[in-house]
Assembly symmetry: C2
Homo-oligomer: 246 residues x 2
Amino acid sequence: MQRYKCIISYDGTGFSGFQIQPNKRTVQGVLEEVLGKIHKGKRIKVIGSGRTDAGVHAKGQVIHFDSSLSIPVSRWAIALNSLLPNDVSILSVVKIDQKFHARFDTAGKEYRYYLHLSNERNPFLRHFAFSCPYSLNFAAIKEASEYLLGTHDFTSFCSAKSEVEDKVRTIKEIDFIIENDLIIFRFVGNGFLYNMVRILVGTLLEVGTGNREPKDVIKILEGRDRRMAGKTAPAHGLYLWQVFYK
Amino acid sequence: MQRYKCIISYDGTGFSGFQIQPNKRTVQGVLEEVLGKIHKGKRIKVIGSGRTDAGVHAKGQVIHFDSSLSIPVSRWAIALNSLLPNDVSILSVVKIDQKFHARFDTAGKEYRYYLHLSNERNPFLRHFAFSCPYSLNFAAIKEASEYLLGTHDFTSFCSAKSEVEDKVRTIKEIDFIIENDLIIFRFVGNGFLYNMVRILVGTLLEVGTGNREPKDVIKILEGRDRRMAGKTAPAHGLYLWQVFYK
């Protein structure tokens, strides 16, 4: 038995998220279906670094699976891609120690959120960036983002549906990449709670439009109450960009 | 009665081309449906600068239509976009003289063809660029493209299905824009025949991969025979970029 670590990319538009669910098209479901074919019907379990919601994209999601087939490691990506649908792609496959675990061994993640700053409706970005027709105060957004850096209890920035108990996380970097009329929010942290990046973006946008003061973010963190933070930004602007391991 | 000229953009993926056809989803069909709603069921004919094939995109297609409604010109785009599906967008609407005709008055067009130079399967580009895993000789492609510039009989670069008699066209510019692993072919001309840009790209790619010599293009033009040119490149890499008027 050999464990394989894969970096994968997917367009989340056509998936009901990463995690397998009955009667829904999911990334894990599609991957396990293809692995099942390669293994003549045997179920091969796919473990991801974490879930992504319906509509959320991935540029560098990480998964692992075990196989006893003697396929050379250089052929695995080709074999999988030849059977996978076009909206998911295996970028790389490497052999890895049996002790490696795609979820338990994560040391951090990078997410990016794509914002299209325009009042022109762009048909090519409708699934790939959140369209924002308002002008934003970036100095205010930057100030607010600095209060979010570091280790905090992010209860206010976590879906109330989450069952995770420990909501303390460390955000190491928040910055902004400008590409023409796209603003890309970049978040690097040791881990992110359910909906956390989308609530962070939603709150920063409320700061950017002047509906909140940058310093409000400090009170929101202290309040530990989801209702204090801003709206959850739409899924289709969000990309799981890369996963870091110990 | 007032004539309106509109610049529109669409993601061609979900359309069976521009031109209205029974029981098919087309750009013209969707536009006429929405105009029909605004005009309480009256058919309002939409005239485009020309057709685009199934899967072909537009960043700056031009249409015209006539209306006797007293909607202020600044409100037309908002009114149309609020009823149109997300894969087509009205970028601008201006009042124009009744003598203007979106098809007959064209002075030229610009098309772009997106090529993704990578052997990595990119789920985000699957509908938006043609993926080419081979390394290309750009000096050879540039040399070949210079033989195509100017006024020629482009019979060899026109679908054999075309019923147009005069196949003489003038290509004014061919150049290449490099954006990371994307190569964008840019064609500006006074007019383009059915499938012409896609056959030009298919032939230039055969030059780029070394399957043809740059000078072969001269013989292909002189032969006036579609079978002498290269394959028709796939529709999903092609964008009608802008339309010029007299």
